[in-house]
Amino acid sequence: MEIYIRSSACISPQKTFTNDDFLNHIVEYTGTRLKAIEPDYKQFIDPKQIRRMSHVIKMGVAAATECLNQANIDMPGAIITGTAFGCMEDTITFLTRVVEQHEELLPPTAFIQSTHNTVAAQIALLLKCHNYNNTFVHKGISFESALFDAMMLLNEQEADNILIGGIEEMVDTSFKVLTRLGLYKRWPVSNLSLLATASKGTIGGEGAAFFLLGTQSSTDNLAALTGLKTLYKPRSVKESITAFLGSYALTIGDIDLVITGKNGDLKNDEVYNMLNGSLFKNTSLANYKHLCGEYPTSSSFALWMAANIIKTGTVPEVVIERDINSSTPKKVLIYNHYQNKYHSLMLVSAI
């Protein structure tokens, strides 16, 4: 059974939402944190509700709504989200009040909206959608776990037209804590030179990317989602990738473009550099984290990019690392890892 990406919508630190050109007008940032460019939410959400919604809920609901609009679908067969940190803003708001007000006279709103399933729930509520609804929260494979659930549901013929998204918000507190944990560079960098400044640390990011997956073929579909595999601390990434491609009767020679998760951190990029000089040696290469920053569900941005590369038949200049034969790619492999523990492979094909 073929699984198709019928539509996609992405809110990110780039102008990826509601404008037609595909990564032509790139936004440069200097610092260590990229913030999502927020659309005019009034077009997607009732203004009365916008005021109550946190950043991640607004991003998620708007991206999900636009994704459904693009596919011209009113009611998805399932709603599935992936997020490692969930609703950080509301969690921190409530936690701060618990501490500062010594557990007294707390308003409930932030707590109510702090659960990790809030975005999927709000989408269901907005659509009055009673169908399957799930939220995965497993660190660097939160989005992939959700995507895998969608693929299984389609395979089981339990649902069609599945709305699935990767979401993450960065708030000041989480940025501060993650900076103290050593994730980010110690001095400001331009995101456009991130991958050229090999040093310790990366830049933080955030975003929401949604996809509508279905099994009906149509020339309107963006691409086919051919395969997905997650790996935990793999012994050999090279062998895992070869085996993954082999399970679809492919070799690396069949792949027109590899999108990797380089993030500018020396240790993080080691495995990509190793592969780029070996398994991927004769393959066109692209990167994406200089555009959206590093976050646990950033692979959803990569999937949005891959689907659009295939649909438009173009690889935007700003993402190319090495161009061998990447004009109108038909088969794109996304290889990402999060902090060297969670690795994921996604295979996206032209329809």
Binding site: F94, V98, L106, L125, H130, K139, D149, R180
Partner: protein, 399 residues
């Protein structure tokens, strides 16, 4: 795709016992685990009853072989998963495709709370060790490492239905031939965050909770972990003892009514129960016992009542909320109650709904008041409903 999913092992830790045998004994003796707060540092000590696991972090660390300074949520999870895996005693475990799917609601919040006190005073302060494993996924990862599982792991967080959805997802991983064995369920430790959160919603009973009673006034929070070991038909044939039962039905539906409140018609729970029956090919009259979500809040219980009436009328099976023993363990309750459902089949028993006195007005049924033995129990339904309208029903069936 059509092969059965078998339950080969169970493990549970809750306020009524540190393993399955202890839990069963308390269930039979009608002994609730609810009492004063002794572990959390909160202003609600002696004001709000909770259902604590009766072991300190040091004691849990000693049992599990993990350090005592990690999240209690992780420690509880290791205790229950180790028991489940030992119980299943799967031959050649290391040679099979194994996975771990776990639910929880607030990850390492118990430790993050400590961090946050110092951090709020000075953002360069606070021990990073206490916040490093804040993410829900960290609990699962530490446990999977401890169990030696690396083929597949993930974490689900759909509030109070998290672990029911984990069991659901795990079964499908086997059905789709991705894995042979999956340990699935969930864990949650008491935290100031959740205690205060539920308190702001004014749904905590200041006395022991009275699920499904006309005069119910709210829930008591609890903590614990519960897991089942699910195996494929192929693995089942290699087991040295009979599996407990099958997981024959499951359904996840969304109430799509309100972020925290259930719809008066119980739409989500109705669809979940009906869908699970359909999946298992059973009729309402086939169900021999319902382990209710039954939190004890006026809203949940009335919506669940209405939904049960819509599905089961006029064949009402015995039903009870074991939250009257364990409190509401949030992300763990679907796992703990799955274990209780499995044990009901295995031991031919039905658990009482403690402290039940008055039938809910206009309802043609009421929960079971006595511990029943010698029951012919072929099919048990277990309900878990959560914030965000996430409703899931599971059905376990005798072999």
């Amino acid at each position: 795709m059509s092969s059965s999913i078998y339950v080969a092992g169970v493990g549970v830790i809750s306020a009524i016992g540190n393993n399955a045998a202890e839990n069963l004994a308390s269930l039979a003796m009608e002994k609730a685990g609810i009492g004063d707060i002794t572990l959390l540092d909160t202003i609600y000590r002696e004001k709000l009853p909770v259902a604590e696991v009766k072991l300190s972090n040091d004691e849990l660390a000693a049992i599990t072989g993990l350090p005592s300074n990690i999240s209690r949520t992780t420690l509880l999870s290791v205790a229950a998963t180790q028991e489940a895996l030992d119980d299943a005693a799967i031959p050649g475990f290391g040679t099979l495709r194994t996975g771990f799917v776990s639910g929880n609601s607030v990850g390492g919040m118990d430790k993050s709370e400590d961090f946050f006190v110092d951090f709020l005073a000075d953002s360069n302060k606070g021990k990073l060790r206490n916040v490093f494993d804040h993410e829900c996924g960290s609990m699962t990862e530490i446990v999977a490492d401890k169990l030696g599982i690396s083929d597949f792991m993930t974490t689900i967080s759909t509030a109070c239905s998290s672990s029911a959805n984990a069991i659901f997802y795990a079964a499908r991983l086997i059905k789709n031939d991705v894995l042979d064995v999956v340990i699935a369920g969930g864990t949650d430790a008491l935290a100031k965050f959740t205690l205060n959160g539920f308190n702001t919603l004014m749904i905590l009973d200041k006395e022991f909770c009275k699920p499904f009673d006309e005069h119910r006034e709210g829930l008591n929070l609890g903590e614990g972990a519960g897991y089942v070991v699910l195996v494929s038909e192929k693995v089942k044939n290699t087991l040295s003892k009979q599996p407990y039962c099958t997981l024959s039905g499951y359904k996840n539906s969304n109430d799509a009514y309100h972020q925290t409140a259930s719809s008066p018609e119980g739409t989500g729970s109705y669809l979940a129960m009906k869908g699970a029956l359909q999946k298992s090919g059973l009729t309402p009259a086939d169900i021999d016992y319902i382990n209710l979500h039954g939190t004890g809040t006026p809203n949940n219980d009335s919506a669940e009542c209405t939904a049960i009436k819509r599905v089961f009328h006029p064949h009402y099976p015995p039903m009870s909320s074991t939250k009257s023993y364990t409190g509401h363990t949030l992300g763990a309750c679907g796992g703990i109650e799955a274990v209780f459902s499995v044990l009901a089949i295995k031991n031919k028993i039905i658990y009482p709904n403690l402290r039940f006195e008055t039938r809910i007005e206009d309802m043609p049924f009421e929960p079971e008041k006595n511990f029943l033995t010698g029951q012919e129990i072929n099919h048990v339904m277990s309900n878990s409903f959560g914030f965000g309208g996430n409703c899931t029903s599971l059905i376990f069936s005798a072999i």
